[in-house]
Amino acid sequence: MTFTNEATDADLRDPVLERLGEGADPSPLRRQALVDRIAHVPAAEAPRRRVGVWWVAAALAAAAVVAGVVLWPGEPEPISPTALLGDLLGPLPTLAAPAPAPPGPEQSPSPMSDVLAAVWKDLGDPLAIVAQTIDLPRVLIDDEPEVIEEN
C-alpha cells in the first residue's frame, strides 16, 4: 500500500511514536561546555581575516610603489655604457709596448714557383699511389699463367 500525497501530516500523528521525542536533553554542564567550545572556534572568522590580511598586503605594496615613484631623484643622468663598464671593471691597465722579436736567421721571401714546387712534391707520392692502384689489375692480368689448350 502506498501512502498518497493527499494525506496530511496530522493523519500521520501517533501518540505512541511521539514518545520518541521525550528525554534526550543535554545536561546544563554538557550544554555549557558545548556552547563554549563551538562559539569560540574561530573557523568562521578565519576566511574574513585572511581576506583582510590580503587587502592590507596589497595596500602596502601599492604604497611602496607610489613612494618609489614619488621619491625617485628627478632627471636621471644619462650614463654611457663605457662609463658603466669602467665603473664595473675599474681602470684598465696600460698596455705595454710589445717586446721586440728575438733575432733569427734571415729568410728570403720564397718565390711563387718554390711554393708550387713544394705543393707538387707533397702531391707526388699520393699520385704515385693512385697510379699504382690503377695499374694493379693490369699487372695481375699480365701475371696470370697462360692456359694451354690441349687438343
Partner: protein
Amino acid sequence: MTEALPWDTVRLAARGDPAARRDLVEQTIDEVWRLAMRLTRRSDEADMVTQETYARALAALDGLKPNGRFEGYLARIATNLVLERWRKKRPTGPVPAHLADEQAEPWQQVARDEDDRRRLSALWQAVGELDPKPRAAVLLFYAQGESCEAIGRILDAPAGTVKTWLHRSRNQIRRRAESLLAEQPAGGVARSGDLT
C-alpha cells in the same frame, strides 16, 4: 519546537559578530543535540555530531540564503552526518569511562516505571532496525516535530516519499515492538496493545 532563530542573527554571525555567533549557538543547540542524541543514542556521539554540525554550518554562513528556518539547515547537516556514519557502519567504540554515568538512552530518563521503560525500550529498538532514511524520517517527524516538507528538504526526498516512509515505518515499528514485548513479557503474558 522552539521559536525560529531570526535571520538577522544569522547575518550578523556571518559578518563575524561574536555575540551574534554565540546567540546563534545558544538558541539552536538544544534542538541539534536532541536530534543527534536521538539518531545516535549516545551522548558522546551526539556531542561529536553537534560540534561537526556547527563547524560546517558556521563555515558556510556567508553563502547561506535566508530560506525557511535556520534550524532546518542545521538539522539537514546533522542528519546527513549521521546518515554518513550509518552508511559506513562505523563501529562505535566503548563508552569512555568518564561518560559512563551519562550514557542513559533517551527513554531511560523519562520512563515512569519498569513497564514503561520496557515499552519505550522496545519502541526504540524497533526504530533502530529501520533503514537509514525512514529511520531519520521517523525521528525527525515524531521526535523533532518537523513537517513532511521540511523532512523532504533535509533528506533530499519528495514529501510524498516521506509520507510513505512514515506510514510504512509506523506499522513496522508497532509490529516489531509488540513482538519484542511478547518475547520478553514482564510480570505476565504480554497483551495486544501493550505498546500503548
